[in-house]
């Protein structure tokens, strides 16, 4: 198992390296002069712009800048400085990540707490009135763009009822509306995924056998059916959580939450190559870690997968 984890971590290195190279290259060819942006909106002479370009190291060959950037990230965990305001990108990412993480964790928890029982209920009671209502409601949520949902929530809970703050990230209270807005769309997809997985399982032979043995329905569903339906559910949770850690950009903008997503959008608008590339590598890293954890959870959810990991480890040992 440990060997598998190490192998996966090693595979992450070329992945992140590729992400870094692609991002740096793409940003380099996007129109816009970072030197002018760094100098701000005033009128600047050609000499000033040239001096700034020199100071930022933009006059050096592309390959040299790329090499330096990549080696700084992977050898020193140094994402460099923002081209626009000179701040340390690692510092900015570390300051902003907790906000993004809070939204991601709360959103995924809300999705699981509501989506899992709802999906099970609709699978067990397939084609009932409850199933159909759930289908319609979740479809409705799925169709609502998150920025629109967010604005509706603000209008109702902040402006009309005055129960919750409309923007900011000062305390947990500020994350209630962003969490709901961020979850609703995903909740629909997740519920339907749980329903589909469970539907496949509840009609299988071993579930029929469990029922025929006289086990209570609760035990049949939660003891036999659910564990066997978990793999695709875990995949959906992992992917969604991973992408959420990259920043729920629209939610962060609407609720003025200073997270990774907002930082990424600002850095793209400002042609801040370093910040933008740093954000993407950070997001890729977060995503890769979450997917690794998801893979490990597979082993706990399904003993057959765990056995495969163990067997693969033994095989390598034997060959060695």
């Amino acid at each position: 198992m440990i060997r598998y984890v190490i192998k996966r971590l090693l595979i992450m290195i070329p992945t992140l390296l590729a992400v870094g190279i692609i991002m740096f290259t793409l940003m380099n060819f996007v129109p816009g002069d970072p030197a002018q942006l760094a100098l701000g909106s005033g009128v600047h002479t050609a000499a000033e712009i040239e001096a700034k370009r020199e100071a930022l190291g933009l006059n050096r060959p592309f390959i040299v800048r790329l090499g330096e950037y990549i080696s700084n990230i992977f050898l020193r965990f140094d994402f460099g400085k923002s081209l626009v305001d000179g701040t340390d990108i690692k510092w900015e990412l570390m300051k902003r990540f907790p906000h993004t993480a809070k939204i991601a964790v709360f959103s995924i928890l809300l999705t699981i707490i509501i989506g899992l029982p709802l999906g099970i209920y609709t699978a067990v009671h397939a084609n009932s009135v409850g199933d159909r209502i759930s289908l319609i409601v979740t479809l409705l949520f799925d169709c609502m763009p998150s920025f629109w949902t967010a604005l509706l929530l603000v209008l109702l809970f902040s402006l009309k009822l005055k129960w919750l703050p409309s923007s900011g990230a000062k305390s947990l209270e500020y994350f209630i509306l962003p969490t709901i807005a961020n979850s609703l769309g995903g909740l629909a997809g997740f519920t339907r995924q749980v329903r589909a997985s469970m539907l496949e399982v509840v009609s299988s032979d071993y579930v029929t056998t469990a029922r025929s043995k006289g086990l209570p329905e609760k035990d049949v569903i939660y003891g036999h059916a659910l564990p066997n339906a978990l793999i695709p559910i875990l995949t959906v949770i992992g992917m969604r959580f991973g992408s959420m850690l990259g920043g729920a950009t629209i939610i962060e903008v609407v609720f003025s939450i200073p997270g990774i997503g907002q930082y990424l959008v600002n850095s793209i608008n400002n042609r801040d190559y370093n910040a933008c590339t740093g954000c993407i590598i950070f997001i890729a890293f977060a995503f890769a870690i979450i997917m690794l954890l998801t893979d490990l959870l597979y082993a706990y959810a399904d003993p057959r997968i765990k056995a495969q990991y163990v067997a693969s480890g033994k095989k390598v040992k034997k060959n060695g």
């Binding site: 100098l39 009128v43 002479t45 100071a55 300051k95 600002n266």
Partner: protein, 517 residues
């Protein structure tokens, strides 16, 4: 009964407003302010941002403070902050004596060496174009005395240099890491930073400031705590105000009526100072190199129609907005490019265009800005038989494109009258300021000669000579200056505007004022 306060700050001396504010009441407890920007730093030197614009003079001492546009040193209008006195040696040299008791919020003593370091550092970083343009060097002449040398001795340059550099302790700055500089800086202004959340906001608190007498307007401590929150969306700021989350915010024109008609809020209207104009690309090979084409376009539209979708605006009936103290009032009475389709047709014909061979031009605009004014312009030009293509580029791409003489025919720009009309003209037409040519790539020796003469003495004669020459050649068309609005809870009775930004520490609060926080 509906209550509305709308003070138009059209060149009004903010000094008067702030003088009133400082004497009117005891310090309020707290004010929570929303700004429209979430990308900012609070160290002594950094790029433009709303947070910096609204707080730089509050947390960092500068040598001097300019309380209103056009305030001059020699008339005594410029106020001393860290400088105890400023003596003019010659047009390009100034001796400065600073107070000998300046300490920052971490107890470091500020000396002349720190001031020189601050100027040199800002020049090296290049964040403030006025410092890059006007500041040459400085030398320490004593513990608390220094001499500043200017590159440019034109009027207003000394004032710009003396008022635009934050002063910080050299040893602290060099020894501090990025985190400390941007979250717990050793400030020299009247407020220290108590909390800083990147992208989210910053909290300031009045501290035991080193100066107690002869305070400049920006050194007031009218409120004990200032909390600034970043709310980028205009609608979200309005909701936060209405929801009782903040005390003050800039609001959009769309939301204006909601606050003007609400007794719980005061609204202050003021000029944006960024004046819009169209400039023609006169480089060889462009259709707009032809004076007849430029005049045909200028006579084919009216700026008022363009401005209708931009909210309340002050029209520019001239090649400069009527803002600077050197603006010649007589220009307002002169004929400018009023819409006249017959004249437009005459100029088009002279340029060789007609309905079978329509004039086709492009206009470079910033895509993030509202596009309606340019759509209106497009429609008006179409009526005159001119086909206009709107080329919207995002801010970053535009900065690259606007310097390319082959990329556009007309460009929409905006610029502020920092002190004088001549400085505004210098930004547009000064060859030195624009790397050899004007913003419209115009290579015209006479234009430069007239501009330098106008800058040199700002006499009505020289100003008018340049002004008339620009109109005669139709190098640009002035459009309008938008107004902005700040809404506050009704306990804030005056926001102490200094040109573009409110001075948060010098606002006036009602006796019964209580922050929403």
């Amino acid at each position: 009964m509906k209550k509305r306060m709308a003070a138009m700050a059209l060149g009004i001396s903010a000094a008067a407003i702030m003088g009133m504010s400082m004497s009117a009441q005891a310090a309020a407890d707290k004010v929570i302010v929303a700004v429209d920007d979430d990308s900012f730093t609070i160290g002594p030197w950094g790029n433009d941002s709303s947070v910096r614009d609204w707080t730089e003079n509050t947390i960092w001492a500068h040598l001097c403070y300019r309380p209103f546009t056009g305030a001059m040193l020699e008339t005594g209008e410029v106020q001393m902050v860290a400088a105890k006195s400023v003596t003019k040696v010659d047009d390009a040299t100034y001796d400065v004596e600073i107070y000998d008791n300046i300490v920052d919020s971490k107890g470091n003593q500020i000396t002349a060496e720190d001031v020189v370091y601050s100027y040199d550092k800002l020049q090296e970083l290049g964040y403030v174009s006025e410092i890059s343009l006007y500041y040459d060097s400085a030398e320490v002449t004593g513990d608390y005395t220094l001499t500043i040398h200017l590159k440019d001795s034109s009027e207003g340059s000394a004032e710009a240099v003396l008022t635009m550099c934050s002063i910080a302790d050299k040893d602290w700055f060099e020894g501090a890491d990025e985190n400390e500089i941007n979250s717990d800086p050793a400030v020299t202004g009247p407020y220290k930073v108590t909390e800083m959340a990147a992208g989210s906001g910053v909290s300031l608190e009045a501290w035991d400031y080193w100066k107690t007498e002869d305070l400049a307007d920006c050194e007031a401590q009218n409120v004990n705590e200032i909390e600034i929150r970043c709310i980028t969306e205009a609608s979200a700021r309005s909701i936060a105000l209405e929801n009782g989350e903040i005390d003050m915010a800039e609001i959009s024109t769309d939301d204006l009526a909601r606050f003007e008609e609400n007794d719980d809020f005061n609204v202050t209207e003021y000029l944006n100072w960024m004046s819009q104009y169209l400039i023609f690309n006169t480089s060889e090979g462009r259709v707009t190199a032809d004076e007849n084409v430029r005049k045909a376009i200028a006579y084919a539209f009216d700026t008022y129609t363009m401005s209708l979708t931009a909210g309340n605006c002050v029209m520019s009936y001239d090649v400069a907005p009527n803002i600077g103290p050197d603006y010649v009032e007589a220009w307002d009475g002169q004929e400018y490019f009023n819409r006249d389709l017959d004249k437009a047709a005459e100029y088009l014909e002279a340029a060789g265009y007609d309905s079978s061979n329509p004039l086709q031009v492009s206009i470079l605009v910033t895509s993030q800005a509202p596009q309606q004014p340019y759509v209106a312009l497009q429609a008006m030009l179409a009526e005159a038989g001119i086909q206009l293509t709107i080329d919207g580029q995002d801010r970053a791409a535009r900065q690259a494109v606007q310097n390319d003489p082959t990329a556009w025919d007309i460009a929409e720009y905006s610029d502020s009258v920092a002190d004088f009309t001549t400085s505004y003209w210098n930004d547009l037409f000064g060859a030195e300021a624009n790397g050899g040519l004007t913003q419209g790539f115009t290579d015209d020796a006479k234009l430069q000669e007239l501009l330098q003469a106008a800058i040199a003495d700002r006499s009505e004669e020289n100003m008018t000579a340049f002004h008339d020459y620009v109109i005669e050649n139709c190098y640009m068309v002035g459009l309008y200056t938008e107004t902005k609005h700040i809404a506050t809870t009704n306990g804030i009775t005056d926001i102490a505007l200094e040109k573009l930004n409110p001075v948060l520490n010098a606002m006036t609060f009602a006796d019964d004022y209580a922050s929403v926080g």
